[in-house]
Symmetry: C2
Amino acid sequence: MPRVGVLGVGKTKNGFHRDKSLRDLMMEASQKAIEDAGISPKNIQMVVVGNSSSQMFNSENNLGAMLSDHIGATPAPSACIESACATGSWAMYVGYMGILAGLYDAVLACGVEKMTDVSTEKGTFAIAQSADVSTEYFTGLTFPSGVALYQARYIDRWGASEEDLCHVSVKNHYYGARNPYAQLRFECTVEDVMKSPYVAYPIKLYEICPMTDSASTVILCREEMMRESGKEPIYITGSGATSGTYYNSTDQLEDNYVLVERAAKPCFEMAGLSPEDIDVLECYNAFAIQEPLGLEGAGFFPLGESWKAVRDGLTHHDGKIPTNISGGVLTKGHPLGGTGTSQAVDIVEQMRGNFTGVQVEPIPEIGMMINRGGPGSVCICYTYQKE
Amino acid sequence: MPRVGVLGVGKTKNGFHRDKSLRDLMMEASQKAIEDAGISPKNIQMVVVGNSSSQMFNSENNLGAMLSDHIGATPAPSACIESACATGSWAMYVGYMGILAGLYDAVLACGVEKMTDVSTEKGTFAIAQSADVSTEYFTGLTFPSGVALYQARYIDRWGASEEDLCHVSVKNHYYGARNPYAQLRFECTVEDVMKSPYVAYPIKLYEICPMTDSASTVILCREEMMRESGKEPIYITGSGATSGTYYNSTDQLEDNYVLVERAAKPCFEMAGLSPEDIDVLECYNAFAIQEPLGLEGAGFFPLGESWKAVRDGLTHHDGKIPTNISGGVLTKGHPLGGTGTSQAVDIVEQMRGNFTGVQVEPIPEIGMMINRGGPGSVCICYTYQKE
């Protein structure tokens, strides 16, 4: 399988962007990526936006054409893709397939969400629509209450205490506080997490990501174009994509990790890699519990063991598998459609040795991202290598 | 370039589906397509939904996972794509790229929109969000008023009268009346069209499509899988995709046809075909004027000549280039995200000789579809051949 190069990356800060529109955010991240790639907008042959809910948050639609027009890539074809919280990874996937198909040389994938212009009530309803509205939302099974079910089951099944799991938030806040692009930039202790109010037992406020405004852009290209660019090459060498079920399904509660397993396994196989090879990992954690579930699903730790690994520092920047050294979406903020591309940008920065926050040393040779979404309904993984 | 097979198709009737949900419509069309393809849902390796505005119309999102789960294709990866009125064609394009990339054998692409559950006001606002909301919608440049500008310019530039252009609606209504899957099933005369109220001068009510509830599904597959199926093979042999600009741009008013030209030209080139080779054509016509503009953009008639061709019967089922023998979205109804897939299903039915309405004779060997969208911001074309 030919590989796909990552020619350029760009990102905005995450947070409240009162002075910028959805379009401004897309433009800022994309112009940075184009500059980083060292190409002209006219070299971009396809534009894919990843966005989950712009009609609810911003009364805008057809964002692919909007970005293509404003960035100067028109007449390159354009579209906007949505796959709950795996939306950004799917935007990359469309470009990845277009390049592997031999149809395109260079594709711009921009993930974006501007969530803070509406009331929390409206925002919560927008997000809830990624679950099964007719059978879940209206019966009270929202994202926090759904995740609470499998967090409770994890605690019960594997003997972790609530305090044990708090270490996930403590670790992510440690790194978020050191990443100027993150939204929540303060450290916290296990006691702080325990004292934060319950949102849906046993989930506490500090175990849930904030809504945020953010865009991030990745420019993908043919392998030859990467080589000829003169830049240090970084390639996507493995990919895996899957879908799953809803909250009201056994595998979401008892065996939640399988969603990640089904995407990570083919990803490792395509790349010819195993978890031991990975130097830096971005693992989706809109809810803290999803970080250990991802670590176990991808095989970094045995089932029921990863909460100990996080507690004992094995996922810190100098640990066995540096995980969410960006602070994760738990503290960076979770721009639904922008999260996948944000993970990709942060991994590429780590592999280039110029990450905006804590840099993993030695500079990582091999990176991986795990981007799950929905109630447990979608997941994409990618591996990144320099050769 | 390897070709991609069309293994199965399915469609719902268009209209007011008071008794069916968005999901029901997707399921109905997709189950028909799976049955038609003669495969099991487990053979589907990727599910792509094309939908423009389900958050506005139905308070639902993440439709890819919804369909994948309910159709029984999970754990196949899934997503939902949006590109204004070219959304359905983009859903097919994602599958097409995934197959050409060698990643997938069989992909289900379902285009859907359920538009009639909300007020006309809310629906109109949902649609308007596919234009540039900040610079167009709030200044009054909605879809009808934007298209009116280029319809007026067409009349002025090419010497067509308002009555001349009415023949587009008369022809589409003739065929829509004979297609039980269409929403507007009555014939009309030039006088009827002229008497229908102005929506935005010079556009009259009978020159605009209705909102509708509809889903249609296409199952694409590798060339080898098509051959081994035992079915009469139909392949996508050419594709072309492009983006354009907004209403407030010269090329949308003076040279509106160029949007289609930029998608049709590479499509013909890839297939090694020219307009003379096409036996049956579906040409997007949410507004009647877009049919002559598409015919000219794709090169079926010289600039400024196609309105005469329509008037003189050259686009009827027994004419030079049978165009929108389905009735077109002008009378079938225009389910934003479902229109592209609906065009594909109707062409495949024509090429199989079992179209639900007026069948073109002799049975077409080569078909084509032109699916534009937005203010003039997106377009995809495909050609279909039996060998």
